[in-house]
Symmetry: C2
Subunit: 473 residues, 2 copies
């Protein structure tokens, strides 16, 4: 039997620490952050080097066994979970967690793909640099996963997504050959952008084993404000004002609806209402800089302008790092507050920034029409046009009915989104969860090209099959 | 005869203005900025709409005639010049020069591919926005060409290359089908990054007909300084200091050797030596912002630091826009000064930033060893690790010997570059000119993937064949 032969060969090649086969040992590799879980893998390979990844991939290819590359399990579209059939080998990069080199003069850093984002950020900070990717999951997610999903997060507005933060890449292809693009060059226009193709391909074209990351100077000063506004139109106008007034120093501009402030206070008892009055919308805004600029004056100027124009109705300014953390706690606790509500519709859509107010209005109307008792929570990254338009099902709804109900609401939402030429996945990717909605909107020509690329890189269809595209027939 | 049939069909479809057949009319489509010229085309098609591009491409495919998409003729690697055999159809996008839409709230702009960069910048400025790509050729180059070559230029340090400035793309594929990716989304993680693949593919995978560009707030203040330094080590150290001290507001950091200051003064008689003494190296530095920040104080702080540390020996600060333009004139006139020296070796290489001093030293030694009478001029974009390491041949060398001599020097230079894991083409691309050096360094696995991508998008091999990769056998 091919599967048994593969396990035996892997066991020999990777050793005891390198291969897990007992269900108890494999439990933490079968579920992700969102709580999704499909099935158990054949085994979990834990290669400790690029050479061991190569050996693992070759053995899988020789035995015809599909592979699932895995990072820190913080994906939200079930893209890195082993399939229900139990026939896939999970390849976890967790043991490849070495910082290979830091060059603070070139503002670059070479790392293994299994490095946890937080440790990459710490290593950069030790050299007065910053790796600006900032995600809720940064304490557990891995660089390889960030690359595979082209991760976004809180600072995209200023620093771009992972795609803009990766200079070099090292990838083990589905046939076990190494694609070595580990250059530390800020500019390189040689031939087709293969690196870009691997970025965001969700582990379906190869396994990222290493990367050269682009760093920035470490921010030495930060100012945070939480502002109250009364309409989405005002939020958008304030965003434009903030972009201009703060030059390129605006690092976050997060939209938070009143309901999320309440959910945050429910989830974290030490949080109290941030202002004397409540407002329908809040903006959590941050500016940061590495030099001697007077950020405080800059932010005050912005807020004065915002108040003069009637956009900002009230605000809480953090006067210290502790206070800044408190303001950010609203953003973090509101996620916990949502999670406590049990199963709900999570989306991750994008529209043109200027269309945010009209989209939220139309989408809300459509969803409420179909489900008057549900609760809508729309928050997100205004500067990216990226909203998490989430829906809590009616509290009285029986558990058994929720999934189908939420799915129907999602379809309504996506139909409205199509009218705005938006994206059903701004940052989470497609994986398995978003596949049907993705395929339903894919033009024949794009599907043909995407399938052609998959076939070119992975002719045997063994590398994370069935994610993004359905498995070949 | 297929060629005659194609010309007749195109003439009917595109009309008189849409097809040029007379050699006199075609002259300006056969040479580029660098003065390269290969041969005359079969004809020059000038479609006025995406539909006409589609019709043109279909006819070429039906008649088996190769196509050369063409922008503003400012390429430097002969990538958009018709081949010597006279059998290619040039497809010029110059009549597709419409600004389709500007959305200053979303900081986006949709344009036809034939728009000239300068007019795009002007249109953005009219809406208090900026399209930050800045090139010497911006008065003639077209957005489609900027996309096809992933153009860089002077502000890459701050705003990235074209790849980072394009949100949406519309491409006519080699079989005449339209790939419609004209979304105005700042974030979109749906499937494989086809858009990225078209960017920088030099017209070999399809013809870009439209794009959605990413804008930034218009800079309302700018400060420029020309500084004198005595070593490349000092230049690199100053660069690190400037990045930190100026946060993300550093928009240019250009390295200029003394010889270029002299060339500039030779070329432009109104320019006089910018400082009392001469220095081996100069840095032309610019900071800009859109808000009320005190840029002057920021720059002064940087220069004080630079002088205290002994990095900056002298400097000229522009006190007005006129003075700033004067400083930039050194950068522009030095190119004219070089051009006047006749045929010379132009390169466009990149290395890790921290390796610049060692690379320049080693490369200079190697080149001078082979050609003691030549003159080296190395200037470029320090923050991108991107140098134009150019060589003027010995003045006494007979014209007939120059080309072979310079080619031999280029080979020496590239060998040194290989030791630094650098790129032979940081921004100009491969085209035809850099093809042999590119192929000589291409790994078998990368070549196989690149050829596979070309075959997937262009199975008949009719779209700009022979550029980047050799034509299929």
């Amino acid at each position: 039997m091919q599967r048994d032969a593969l396990v035996a060969a892997l066991s020999q090649r990777l050793g005891e620490r390198g291969l897990l086969r007992e269900p108890d040992d494999m439990t933490r590799y079968v579920a992700d952050w969102a709580g999704d879980r499909l099935g158990m893998p054949l085994a979990v390979a834990r290669p400790a080097s690029t050479e061991e990844v190569i050996a693992t991939v070759r053995l899988c290819r020789d035995h015809g066994v599909p592979m699932v590359p895995q990072g820190g399990h913080s994906g939200l579209v079930a893209g890195a979970l082993p399939a229900a059939d139990g026939g896939e080998l999970v390849i976890s990069l967790e043991r490849m967690n070495r910082i290979r080199a830091i060059d603070p003069i070139s503002f670059t850093m070479a790392v293994d793909a299994g490095c946890i984002l937080e440790s990459v950020k710490q290593a950069a900070a030790e050299h007065e640099c910053e790796f600006p990717l900032a995600l809720g999951a940064q304490g557990s997610c891995q660089i390889g996963g960030n690359i595979a999903t082209n991760a976004g997060g809180l600072n995209v507005l200023r620093y771009g997504m992972m795609r803009q933060l990766v200079l070099g890449l090292e990838v083990v292809l589905p046939d076990g050959r190494l694609w070595d693009g580990m250059t530390a060059l800020h500019k390189d226009n040689r031939g087709y952008a293969l690196k870009q193709l691997f970025l965001g391909s969700e582990g379906t074209l190869g396994i990222v084993t290493g990367a050269v990351l682009k760093l920035t100077p470490r921010a030495t000063q930060t100012r945070t404000a939480l502002l109250g506004l009364d309409s989405l139109e005002a939020v958008i106008e304030l965003y434009g004002l903030a972009r201009c007034d703060c030059s390129d120093l605006l690092s976050a501009f997060e939209l938070i609806p009143r309901r999320c402030i309440e959910l945050a206070m429910e989830a974290t008892s030490t949080l109290s209402d941030p202002m004397d009055h409540s407002y329908p919308w809040y903006v959590l805004l941050e500016v940061s800089a590495s030099g001697p600029l007077d950020l405080g004056a800059m932010l005050e100027h912005l807020l004065e302008q915002g108040m003069e124009r009637g956009l900002v109705l009230d605000g809480a300014l953090a006067a210290s790092e502790v206070q800044s953390r408190q303001l950010w706690q609203f953003r973090e606790s509101m996620l916990e507050g949502q999670r406590r509500r049990g199963e709900h519709l999570r989306t991750d859509i994008s529209v043109p920034i200027s269309a945010i107010p009209a989209f939220v209005e139309e989408a809300s109307r459509s969803v409420m029409e179909a489900s008057p008792e549900c609760e809508i929570i729309a928050y997100g990254h205004v500067g990216d046009g990226n909203l998490h338009f989430n829906v809590l099902p009616p509290p009285a709804m029986p558990e058994a009915e929720k999934r189908a109900h939420l799915h129907a609401l999602e379809e309504r939402l996506f139909e409205v989104l199509d009218g705005f030429v938006g994206s059903i996945s701004a940052e989470h990717g497609i994986g398995r969860t978003k596949q049907s909605a993705y395929l339903a909107r894919l033009s024949p020509v794009e599907r043909e090209l995407a399938e052609g690329i998959k076939a070119l890189f992975d002719p045997d269809g063994l590398m994370n099959p069935g994610r993004i595209l359905p498995p070949r027939g």
